[in-house]
Symmetry: C2
Subunit: 242 residues, 2 copies
């Protein structure tokens, strides 16, 4: 007897993707409930009936992005060559970024620091990182890469692919073919660099040690470094002081 509902799962997904596109195209300030509703061909109240409020929309976008990434990772076959599997993970990450450029910033750049994500929204996110750690660990066990701390290796590899994906999505890697060559170069370099043992001296030079307040003044205080004291896990953002 009721009116047929249009605020359904299809609209929900449309809002998530369209919201991402708005975010990617015009930045966080442009992602308003009104503009989103207009783009999705509905009214702004759809956001409230489907997500509760705007923060709920953002949380859902975040969760959706990591859900897609987790699924992509889960679909990768596991071969008996752990190094190949590790590389495949890198290319899968790239494929995810290219397929979901509109969700990338929300997933990895926290454009809304005030947003705090409940643990259940972070599960997929943490799981994807653990997939990487596991792949590294298998490489270590198989002797495919030189001994090292798997967590650290995973962080470095994630830094690499995150950096590359960010560059590619901003168009800084050039045409797709050039970008593809960069990815091959990057992942090849990483793997070769990990294979060769670290002891082998490639350099006479030693890196500097960073005492915590080093740099030249970014202002009065030597090292604001607000974000660098955080925990090891990308949990939620602490709400700012104020």
């Amino acid at each position: 007897m009721p009116r047929p509902r249009t605020h359904d799962q299809a609209l929900r997904l449309r809002l998530l993707d369209e919201g991402g596109r708005l975010l990617a195209a015009e930045g966080p300030a442009a992602l308003t409930t009104r503009r989103l509703a207009e783009r999705a061909g509905t009214s702004s109240s759809a956001v409230y009936s489907l997500f509760g409020d705007k923060a709920g929309l953002l949380r859902a976008m975040f969760a959706e992005g990591f859900h897609r990434l987790a699924r992509r990772f889960a679909e990768l076959p596991r071969s008996d060559d752990p190094a190949s599997d590790l590389m495949a993970l890198g290319y899968a990450f790239r494929a995810h970024a290219l397929a979901n450029p509109h969700l990338y910033d929300l997933m990895f750049r926290s454009p809304f620091p005030g947003l705090d994500l409940p643990v259940e929204d972070c599960e997929d996110a943490l799981a994807t990182f653990q997939v990487l750690v596991s792949a590294v660990r298998r490489c270590l066990e198989a002797g495919a890469i030189a001994p090292a701390d798997p967590e650290e290796v995973a962080k470095v590899l994630f830094g690499l692919v995150d950096g590359l994906a960010g560059l590619e999505l901003r168009g800084w890697l050039g045409e797709p073919e050039v970008a593809g060559k960069c990815w091959e170069l990057a992942l090849g370099v990483a793997l070769r660099g990990l294979q060769r043992p670290e002891e082998e001296p490639s350099l006479s030079w030693r890196p500097p040690s960073y005492r915590s307040g080093e740099g030249r003044g970014g202002g009065r205080e030597p090292g604001p470094v607000a974000g660098s004291q955080g925990r090891a896990v990308p949990a939620r953002r602490a709400t700012s002081r104020r």
Copy 2:
């Protein structure tokens, strides 16, 4: 004869840094002229007398960030070991990020896509990248790394350090000492990987080729995948800040 001016260079710099801190702490939406003025101990019209409008402030923040980075690069000594110089560039990038965490997003994450930057504001930015390319080129000429396209190598290295810096500033690399080990690992791996020639087969496996249609579309059609979770109503009500 006039009233003594307080909208001077000192206030200008204070606004740039304080604006960066606001941006880093609470995101683009929190960077308003009112809040910035309050933090800097002035009135919002200071922004207009010093920068013309809010976009001018953002442009100045961007330019200031790259000016500092360019200066830091320019101050690096050039040794006769190009590989060491290349590594030093990486650590200098890290030092810049740690000393200016509040400007990092604005420099490398474009949180205001609508902002268009005139060429003169981008000169330092382009120059810093060319410093990297030159350092790579010197390594190639000296045979310190295996033959490769210097632009591509520079892009990959920039991707690596950008990714790492982003992770560190968000606290995802852990405590500073752990983060430092990640940087050493990363740059060491990169250099070793670049030294070993690419032909040396390290892998039986070939990367996938990305047909250009694959992702670019923005995930409009590919597997939504996620409606499966099914919950429609968010429940949590996290009011916005304040």
